[in-house]
Symmetry: C2
Subunit: 343 residues, 2 copies
Amino acid sequence: MIRRRATVHDVARAAGVSLATVDRVLNGRPGVRPATAEKVEEAIARLGFSRDLNASLMARSRDLHVVFFIPDGTNEFMGALAEAVEKRFASALADRMHLELRRTKALDAAALAEALNGLDAKTCDCALIVASEEPEIIAAVDAAHRRGIAVMTLVSDLPGSARRNFIGIDNVAAGRTAASLMGRFLPQGGKVAVVAGSLHLRDHAERLEGFRAALTEEFPAIELVGPVEGHDDRTETGSLVGKLLAEHSDMAGVYNLGAGNAGLVSALQASGRAKSLRVIAHELTEPTRAGLVSGAIDVVLDQNPDGEIREAIAAARSLALGTARPVATDPIEIGIFLRDNLR
Amino acid sequence: MIRRRATVHDVARAAGVSLATVDRVLNGRPGVRPATAEKVEEAIARLGFSRDLNASLMARSRDLHVVFFIPDGTNEFMGALAEAVEKRFASALADRMHLELRRTKALDAAALAEALNGLDAKTCDCALIVASEEPEIIAAVDAAHRRGIAVMTLVSDLPGSARRNFIGIDNVAAGRTAASLMGRFLPQGGKVAVVAGSLHLRDHAERLEGFRAALTEEFPAIELVGPVEGHDDRTETGSLVGKLLAEHSDMAGVYNLGAGNAGLVSALQASGRAKSLRVIAHELTEPTRAGLVSGAIDVVLDQNPDGEIREAIAAARSLALGTARPVATDPIEIGIFLRDNLR
DNA sequence: AAGGTCATGAGGCACGTACCTCAGACGAAG
DNA sequence: CTTCGTCTGAGGTACGTGCCTCATGACCTT
């Protein structure tokens, strides 16, 4: 059964009005009585009409502008996210989408808020942010939304803000998975150090929550040490881990739910206990890959950056159709990597 | 740096010819001297011109027709693939793509070849097949390609045919991953039964190859029993597994690299040895999910059917642009599922 | 030289939407 | 009554491409 999509012409005919009126309703232009607008809305709903985004962008001879705000610094995962955006510049252009990548200072809420406030709806239809949970960022998101810019969160969510969508993994589930693996690795129980980047990052806080809950429920023999905050910095993370290992000679495992994995791996190797500790980290990047290969890290939980960017772009496109309803996206999978299934 | 995409007008101007000539070259219509065509090709390359697929489909007022041939029967994974196609009917229509789903008799090469031969290029731009490696299918693929239908393989590849692309996981790597997990589960070694659907299915043959190679290299203490072929049928698979378990009271593990997992799980439970056997299966479906939850199955390796269909659709779109070069697609991830990270 | 074929240019209409102008129709206020 | 403002319809042009017709000129054949 091949059915043609409804067009504005069909809507006009069905509503008994002219094309111009349908156009005014669709694009929120003034000069339509409420009763008439009602008729048009009804026809749109009845026919299941949805604007043809491609024809629309073509007619406007304008690309969809999507701006990605991604933290800079030495966090390899953020680097991978940024690369994933760059990789799609060309193919996005083929779909009339213009992607822009801006690196913002990591863990600097004021800088991100300012950048958001500087966005102009004329040069930005949609903004994607990797944000920590701070009042000034929430305010900036709400302000951008009021200016007509759709904001979506990437990696770490910002509930309670006007963000239209969250693109990322279920971080509570990720924390639970880490706990479940760690519990199996340590059937006798023991101490496990937990290192976060910052608990202001909701993804980190959620992973910790999931990890702690699953341990309590299923592996009460495991004692959690920490969390400590390494601010996603390799040097700081390394010295924190070194200190924890020195202080606890009976440490049995480490769960780094944030970044700074290069520091983690050096500290593990410097301790001389690398092979005897069960270690779980996040994001498949150069340091964690090296850690897996050398045996310093046992498991890496990964959120596919390419998949996240792909879904972000798809969601931005759907949002551009201007529906009020939330946009459906494919869920992002949590990848589990051992030394043997490295991509 | 915002750069406008090149259009046919730009190409015409750059090549010093008229729009009509560019059009003739682009659409392979006759009436252009080789020397002139050369000039146009050169301008296209120089400007990096690529046809705007959306404008093109709109101008033709014609949707892109993509036909999926997916085996029917009781194979839950194939059911999931089919559902994944159906789920995208609507969103594909929004991109001027008309998807069609046809279920063909599983493991019946003649039926699939006949279906392929019945395709008309007027009502099918691209065909996606899940095929076993048989000469008559290869011949049908080549014939379809000559008729102007792009054929791609899904799940299981068909090298040596005129298929334009393969969408699926790296099955050798999947087999290696299974071996690596099994090896760790059985540090003392022991007998592991291997069950396939059909070794005419290249994905199954490749998994076996990877499994066997990784065992030989890394876990020589493990002895492989089989493979036996259960033809992806639950009853047949169940009785095969039951027989193997009865014959080998010292069986330590089972690797089912094909389907028929409902039969696998019943046989395991009927044997009374479910908990003491390490079991690895493929595809996260109802039976394997139940197996994970009950503990009868330890690990499931999964190829995300939604992701495969998404990539297949994206690849079909790219192919429609008519480039001779192979089309780049995102790789499909091999998911690893334990009881604790079930989606 | 006349007729033929072939290569090419010029231009138009169509697809679905955006955005513009202009002309009426209508009701309310003066 | 006129005048104004608001609502609505009619129709045009544009976006990038496909596909069509028609005209022109060059070259070949007889």
